[in-house]
């Protein structure tokens, strides 16, 4: 993974800056809850097994589509508010970027904001699975484009 696509990189910087004001986990979670409110919600009709992410304690649905300009549009939802915040965070960083750039993104911001521990291979929260699924969608879309 070389340098990031400028859009992904600038979004990551924004997020790092946003989170830098919080020195307490509860504030971070408060912010995540807010982020969840802005997630572009997946169509109810698409909340199927196919769009369900495995490996989360809560249920997370995620879909990826390509906009006219070639950027990827993610829509998502979850029955848990913080999980929805996590997916909202990822959507904020990755949406609108080109598929190939998403598939190859270096998501260093997770480390910077202290969420890398949520990437551990535990099966309780789905951040690792979400990230993986977003990359897979992007890779599939990229393959279709080329």
């Amino acid at each position: 993974m070389a340098s990031n696509h400028p859009l992904i990189e600038s979004r990551q910087q924004e997020v790092i800056e946003d989170f830098s004001v919080f020195d307490d986990w509860m504030d971070k979670y408060e912010h995540l809850i807010d982020l969840g409110k802005d997630v572009p919600v997946i169509d109810d009709a698409r909340k199927t097994e196919e769009h369900l992410i495995k490996g989360c304690q809560s249920r997370v649905w995620l879909a990826a589509d390509v906009a006219d300009d070639g950027g990827v549009i993610f829509t998502a939802d979850s029955d848990a508010i913080i999980t929805k915040g996590l997916v909202g965070l990822m959507v904020r960083v990755l949406s609108d970027a080109p598929a190939q750039a998403i598939a190859e993104a270096n998501l260093h911001f997770l480390d910077a904001i202290g969420l890398h521990q949520h990437l551990s291979p535990t099966r309780s929260n789905g951040l690792a699975s979400m990230v993986q699924q977003m990359r897979l969608y992007a890779a599939a879309l990229a393959a279709r484009q080329s």
Binding site: D24, W25, Y29
Partner: protein
């Protein structure tokens, strides 16, 4: 009764309880998943590894003798602790799960056949369901569950009806539920099962840390538990079985230790308990398990049980004041487990926001999915679980933390 409370006296024995999480003092309410370890256990294991580790049983040298004595001493200790009639009835396993699989596969081989039934309850842990499903599938038998009431008690009427209808070969049931806290009336259930001609296996994983156990008094045929929930190390547990059953069962795992004589012409097996203990055992784990039993005995199981009953009562009443919260499992006799749900809120969200405040609880189905399905709790529960070292103050902190979490989530 001592004038200082139990946790006041013992908390300093638990190094981890002095730590912080996310800048807050750790409030550890996940003891049903795994208990923290007292210094005696930690240091006993270290002492073993530092001073007299050796492979056991067949070694003639001094360290092997010391290690063998310590390991077999733990077996004697455990046999006494649960009222076994002899050490040959104690099979060390890697945990409860391993112990139940041993019975399901070894006993199942000669005793389950087409049309047979293994009766379980709807409140079983997966460890006491899946091994039976697998064994039943292999032999054309089937697993049938006994109903659980909405308050978390076992439906005794259904239990008797199931004995009558299904004429099960074996009844596998939990002594105390890890999700509901319910303590089942095991000696009554075993008597009824025996009258109906069924053997009984009791999953004591949540009972061992919380109460005194006497397998003779319970009247069961098999009893299993795991050390790590009872202040002991990971990777070790046991199966107790009546000698006559264990004698009749074929070995399950082959290898060193469990044989009498090996040749390509034919192999003969060792006597109990070794027949079921193939390979190098978890020596340091066995020794430390024995120390954990001593530690519990030093406090007294009755004092631990009384303390936890107080904690449960305190938690029930403190949670009663929290709006929208419903306690799942209100049986009159419970171990230190309190499950709850809050209307419209996912347990995972509550658990995460408690963690943010340094409070460790568990959320989800607690390896009891069929129970969750039965109770209509598809997202599971939030579970607080207690041990000898838990304080009422910790419960208060958790309840306050829960209120804060709910305020953020609503």
């Amino acid at each position: 009764m001592a004038t200082t409370s139990l946790p006041e006296r013992i908390r300093r024995d638990f190094p981890v309880l002095q730590r912080e999480v996310h800048g807050k003092p750790l409030v550890y309410l996940d003891s049903a998943a795994s208990a923290q370890k007292p210094l005696a256990v930690i240091e006993g294991q270290r002492e073993y590894l530092s001073n007299y580790h050796a492979n056991i049983h067949r070694g003639a040298h001094h360290l092997a003798q010391l290690a063998t004595e310590a390991y077999e001493g733990a077996r004697t200790n455990l046999a006494n602790h649960i009222g076994a009639s002899g050490t040959e009835e104690i099979i060390f396993t890697s945990g409860s799960t391993d112990a139940i699989n041993l019975v399901a596969q070894s006993w199942g081989r000669h005793n389950l056949s087409k049309g047979d039934v293994v009766l379980v309850t709807q409140m079983e842990h997966h460890a006491n369901i899946v091994p039976w499903q697998m064994a039943c599938e292999a032999h054309g038998a089937r697993v049938e569950p006994v109903n659980v009431h909405a308050d978390g008690t076992l439906d005794l009427e259904d239990f008797h009806a199931c004995l009558e209808t299904h004429q099960p070969k074996l009844v596998a049931m939990v002594h105390a539920s890890n999700t509901l806290g319910t303590i089942n009336p095991i000696s009554d259930l075993c008597r009824a099962a025996a009258d109906a001609g069924a053997l009984t296996l009791v999953d004591g994983s949540q009972a061992l840390p919380h109460m005194s156990i006497d397998v003779a008094h319970l009247g069961c045929d098999f009893y299993v538990a795991t050390a790590h929930k009872a202040y002991g190390p990971t990777g070790i547990g046991f199966l107790w079985g009546k000698k006559e059953h264990l004698e009749a069962m074929p070995p399950w795992r082959g290898g060193g230790e469990m044989i009498q004589r090996v040749s390509f012409a034919g192999t003969t097996y060792n006597s109990l308990p070794h027949k079921f203990e193939a390979g190098t055992p978890h020596i340091s784990g066995g020794i430390a398990f024995g120390i954990a039993l001593d530690w519990m005995k030093g406090i007294g199981m009755d004092e631990i049980a009384a303390h936890e009953a107080d904690l449960v009562a305190h938690a029930h009443s403190a949670l009663g004041t929290v709006k929208g919260v419903r306690i799942i499992g209100t049986a009159p006799h419970k171990v230190g487990v309190v499950s709850l749900v809050a209307k419209g809120i996912h347990p995972y969200d509550m658990g995460t926001l408690l963690d943010g405040q340094g409070i460790a609880v568990r959320t989800g189905h607690h390896c009891t999915e069929p129970l969750m399905d039965h109770l209509g709790l598809e997202s599971g529960t939030l579970r607080m679980s207690f041990a000898a070292y838990t304080t009422t103050r910790e419960i208060d902190v958790a309840v306050a933390g829960l209120e804060r979490a709910l305020a953020m989530l609503r």
